[in-house]
Every structure is written in structure tokens, then in C-alpha cells.
Amino acid sequence: MTELAEAKEQLTSASQQHDEPRFLLNQRLFARDLMEKLRLPRMQRFKFHDWPLIADQPLTWVSSNTDLEELAPDDEVIRVTQVGQTTVKIHIPEKLQDEGVVLTDIFTAAKNYPEIFKKNFMTAIKADENLLTAYHMAYLNAGLFLYVPKNVEIKKPIEAEIVQDNTQDQPLISHILVVADQGSKVKFIQHLTTVGKNENPANMMIELIAKDNSEIDFSSLDELGASTHTYFKRRADIGRDAHVEWAVGLMNDGDTVGDMDSELLGECGYANSKMIAVTTLNQEVGVNNRVTNHGKHTIGLINQRGVILENSELIFNGIGQIIHGAHGSKADQQNRVLIMSDKARGDANPILLIDENDVEAGHAASVGPVDPHQMYYLMSRGIPRKQAERMVIRGFLGAVLSAIPAADVRKKLVDILERKLTDGQQYQ
């Protein structure tokens, strides 16, 4: 038997053992075939082709020690916790369940809600885009599904604690699918962490399907461990008059490459993609943040801020594309990085691809040290250099910090930031 045939047989038996619906297995097998001919994605000015982003392992179902995660019991909060492949807890108020809100792990969704699942799963991100999307589809082993029915507004943010389990030798291949039906509103916050020290890849994808008139606020605090190589892909398909805001705090300790994509498909849609990243030690991080205006009168904004410490590297590509026919649209982006040591390397590249005339497009980019005028001002009040530096940096990152809806997550992010900056400053 060929290697491919063996791999597909293994996938088939693992899928059956997992009691997956046939359509899901078919998608896996199709994707496994694709892996044979697809290549790694490319990113301008950033190389990651020798990273171990694909685990040489069959699809296996393992359970994780869930004592690992401490849960704060809080009935008010809508929270779901996953450790590795194990879903620890899903708490969702009855009232929302009665309104038709669904929050489950991704495999339960495939089984119990096949209609809505099939219609949306892997439609924004497609398996045949590149080797890593195909790998994702073929070997998917964790994830979540959220459905918000028409005109339902969930006021409290939904909090997802995703813990990558590096106490075992298992990749985490996780998919979060959020479907916001017409006129619905939802805020989703994910917090990614790692336990354990084993080396594993993490392949983390998020699909947001924002139907007409819906609103999705998606915040992410990424705090994956140093021994994890991460590829993430987060994409929103945005319908007519729909709003999507991303606020990502990329605080991973390990090498990370990622794609953010906002597709403004319907007329008058709005996307605001904000990201901050702090890199330390010998870390390498590259991000493509892309917003594409397809529909007329759409607004696409990108705001990326990075702080590069010690011997690390950070590349921010901002890609604003206005497709022919997207009359009256607007694309604006800011990409800024602070370089905090002689050995730190980084770049902020705005890329504008405009195929329409009556549009508004703008960009700003900067790469350099902290603003000396601001430093001087703070220090002239007696504040020591390093503290002043942290204050200026916090201000520099402020726009994204303030976009995170939950105060405790915001506080967590600020704490991580302080810790990273303080550690990084030792190095200067």
C-alpha cells in the first residue's frame, strides 16, 4: 500500500472510531489528497519553511488531564474551556439556549447540527489554499462551534479558554467556527495558553461568518508557549451591513506565522482588524493582515502595532485590497513597529492593491525606536528611563488594548505586556 493510501486508511478508521458523520470524513480524505500537491503558504519578507508546522503523526484521539486548568466558577460568564482535544466545560445560560444559541465542540456540531455546519464549515477558509489549510482539514482534532440565530444579541462576551497540551506529543489542530446569523450580535474572546514543555505544532484556525446586518467582535489573547510552532489563520466573511472587529494580542512565546483575513463581501460592510504583537528572545513572528473590499461602500481598516525586543524578529504585512467594482469603498491601514534593541529585526509593510477609482485608500507605516520626544517628557518628570519606555509602549499599543471588551482580559494582556517588556529591558 502507498503511503497516501495508508494515511487515508488511518484517517478513515480514526474518523469512524470518533463517530464522525460521513461528510466530515470525506472532507478529511479529500484534504489528505490535496496535501500531496499543495505547498506551504508564502509571506513577503518572512521565511518559515523549515519550521516543524506539520506533525508526522496519525490522527489520534487522546484525552488531556483537565485538572491542569483551574476554572473560576462564575454563572454570569458564558465560558467554554478546552484542554488539548478535551472539552472541559461549556457553560451557557438557559435563556440563550432557548433562543437557539448553540455553543458546542466542533465535532458535536458536525453530528448534531449538520445542516448549518456543512453550510459554513471551511467555506471562508478553504482546504485547497495551501498545504497547511489542507493539513488542518485532514487532521482536525479540536475546536468549537458557535451559532447565534437571527436577531439574537448576546450581551456578555463569550469566553473561550483554549489550552494547548504540551505535556503530550500531540499537535493541536483546532478550528473555531462562529456563525452570526442575520441581525445578530456577539462578542467572542479567546485566550490561548500552553501547558507542558514538549515541542508540538499548533494549527489554529478561526472562521467568522458574519451574515447581513450582524456584528461580531472577536478578541484574542494568544499566549502559546515557547516550544510551540504556531500557524494561525483567521478569516471573516462579512455580509451586507455587517461589522467585524478583530482585536488580537499576539503574545506567544514561540515562533508564529499567521494570516488575518477580512473579506468584505456584501455592500456597506465594515471590518476593523487590530493587532498588537510583542516578540522576545530569539522568537520569529510574521503576520499578514489582509482586508479585501469586494462590496460597494465597504470600509476596511487595519491597525497593527508591534514591539520587538531582544534578538527577535517581527514582520507585519498589511494588505489592503479593493476589488474592481467596490465603488465608494475605503481602505486604510497603519502598521507600526518599535525596535527596542540592536539585535531586534522587524518591518512594517503596507501593501495597497487598488482596482477601483472612486475609493479612498491610505496607509501609514513606521519602524523605529520609541518616540524620543515622549521619552524626554516623561523622564523630565523624574520617571526612570525603563519605566518611561514601558509607559510610552503601552500608549503605543493603546488603541488595541482598549478594543478588548472584557476588563479582566485587558488586565491580563497588560500584565503579560509588563512582564515581557520588563524581561526584554534586562537585555538592553
Binding site: D371, P372, H373, Q374, Y376, Y377, L378, M379, S380, R381, G382, I383, P384, R385, Q387, A388, M391, V392, R394, G395, F396, L397, G398, A399, L401, S402
Partner: protein, 265 residues
């Protein structure tokens, strides 16, 4: 008693465009003690801001000759934050805006920077002091929750500089054109703030283009600066005289061969 002394100070800056060093201060001498208020007046472009920034320690200004002594100790080469903790304060002509850092947070950090780790100001004491000074300066509480100087009007920035002065309570404060862009009411408020600091443990160097401010903060000594040097020193009456005769008049009287940037006086 504390002293601040500037001795034969020569300062140059690198011109951004021509990349050439240009001498701005050409031998400034000045001596002041706590308990005193000095004023420096002079036409635009004469080096007043250069002098204040150099005393504070702005890294862009290079001391090529002479010295600056705080209580007899040379502070040339000392980092700006250390000078501040030793008691110097500069109310700037163009304060920086810092997003993400609230005014209140900044003020606390500044106060605590000069206190030992184990004796940081308590929240209660801080708020009491803040409220008192806000009232004195006719400022609203809201100003302290806003980001530092961000989106402040010109007048609000000036008031905020004086608020910092009152909160930090330095030994010597240099006020660089604190009156520019202020209407008469704001000018009175700002002056009230500065006057409240007057006393044996405080000295101030007030830099202004116009005599008007000195009606409200009456100085002990007035210096006139032209072309990078102090050309005349006297009492408050010197300011009045300048008001009447203009800088050109004084220049001609002193027989100086200096071209004034603007003769609008």
C-alpha cells in the same frame, strides 16, 4: 537653601537640514537661589528655550563650554530623569502627548519616582492633593482621567504643566512661555498656581516674551537675553521699560549689533 547656577554656558545644536553644528548660547551666566523668582525676557529665536532645555537635559542640545551647577554639583552629562529627581522641573513650551497613559497615572508615577520604594504616596493622599490642586487651577476632575495631553487645547496643556508643577513640588521650576496662547482668565489661574508655590523652598525661572505675565507673577530679578547671551539684568522695572521701548530700543541703547528675528514689538 538651594542654588542653581549657569556659568559661561555655550550650547550648540545640529541643524536637521544642513547637518551643521550651530552655536545658540554664547556664554550665559545666571545664578539663582530658592526663594527667588527670576524672569528671562527676550525676542523670539534668541535662545530662551535652548537655555531651559539645556538646564533640564534635553539630549539634542550640546554643551560645548561652561557648566550648570545644582547646589554646587555639575549636572551636565546627568540624565534628564536624574536631574528631575534632584529637584528640577521644566514646564515645556510644547508638551508631548501620550496616548494610553492617563494624566492621573502619570502624575502618580512622577511623584513616586522621587520617593523611596517603601514610601510611595498612598491613594488617599494622592487624591487629596490632586483635588486641592485641581480646584486651585480651576480644572475639572475629568482632565486627570484623560490621556496625557492628548487632544488637549493649547490652554489646557499649559494648565496641565502647572498642575504637574504643583503635584511634583520641585525645588526649581523653569516655565517656558507658560503665558503663550492664554487668555487673561487662564493667565490669572496659571499665575495663581505658580504664586502658590512661592516660598523659601522654591525658586523659579520664568521665560516670557511679554511683560504681561510679570504683572501677575512679580519677579525679583529680570534678565534680558539677546542672541544667546544675557545682555541686561535688573529689577521688575526692567520688564516695564522693555514693554515701553521694545527689544530694539534696548538693543540700540546698549549699542549691540544684533539682528532681531521679528521686530513686532
Amino acid at each position: 537653601m538651594a542654588t542653581l547656577e549657569v556659568r559661561d554656558l555655550h550650547v550648540s545644536v545640529k541643524d536637521e537640514e544642513s547637518k551643521k553644528e550651530k552655536e545658540i548660547l554664547k556664554g550665559v551666566n545666571l545664578k539663582m537661589k530658592t526663594g527667588e523668582i527670576h524672569a528671562i525676557m527676550g525676542p523670539n529665536g534668541t535662545g530662551k528655550s535652548t537655555l531651559s532645555q539645556t538646564i533640564m537635559g534635553q539630549p539634542g542640545y550640546k554643551v560645548t563650554q561652561g557648566d550648570i551647577l545644582l547646589n554646587g554639583e555639575s549636572i551636565v552629562g546627568m540624565p534628564v530623569d536624574e536631574r528631575a529627581r534632584k529637584g528640577l522641573f521644566l514646564a515645556m513650551q510644547y508638551p508631548a502627548e501620550i496616548q494610553g497613559v492617563t494624566n492621573a497615572e502619570f502624575l502618580r508615577a512622577a511623584i513616586n519616582a522621587r520617593r523611596p520604594q517603601d514610601d510611595q504616596i498612598s491613594v488617599m493622599d494622592f487624591i487629596k492633593k490632586l483635588d486641592k490642586n485641581l480646584e486651585l487651577l480651576d480644572m475639572s476632575q475629568k482632565m486627570t482621567e484623560r490621556y496625557l495631553n492628548e487632544g488637549f487645547s493649547g490652554g489646557e496643556k499649559k494648565r496641565n504643566e502647572i498642575l504637574q508643577l504643583l503635584m511634583i513640588e520641585p525645588t526649581f521650576a523653569i516655565l517656558d512661555e507658560i503665558d503663550s496662547g492664554l487668555d487673561i482668565d487662564a493667565l490669572k489661574v496659571v499665575s495663581k498656581g505658580v504664586n502658590s508655590m512661592r516660598g523659601d523652598n522654591f525658586g523659579s525661572l520664568i521665560i516670557t516674551h511679554y511683560q504681561r505675565l510679570l504683572n501677575y507673577i512679580v519677579p525679583d530679578t529680570v534678565h534680558v537675553m539677546m542672541d544667546g547671551q544675557i545682555v541686561e539684568t535688573g529689577g521688575p522695572e526692567l520688564a516695564k521699560k522693555l514693554e515701553d521701548e521694545g527689544y530694539a530700543g534696548l538693543r540700540d541703547e546698549l549699542g549691540l549689533d544684533i539682528k532681531l528675528v521679528d521686530d513686532e514689538d
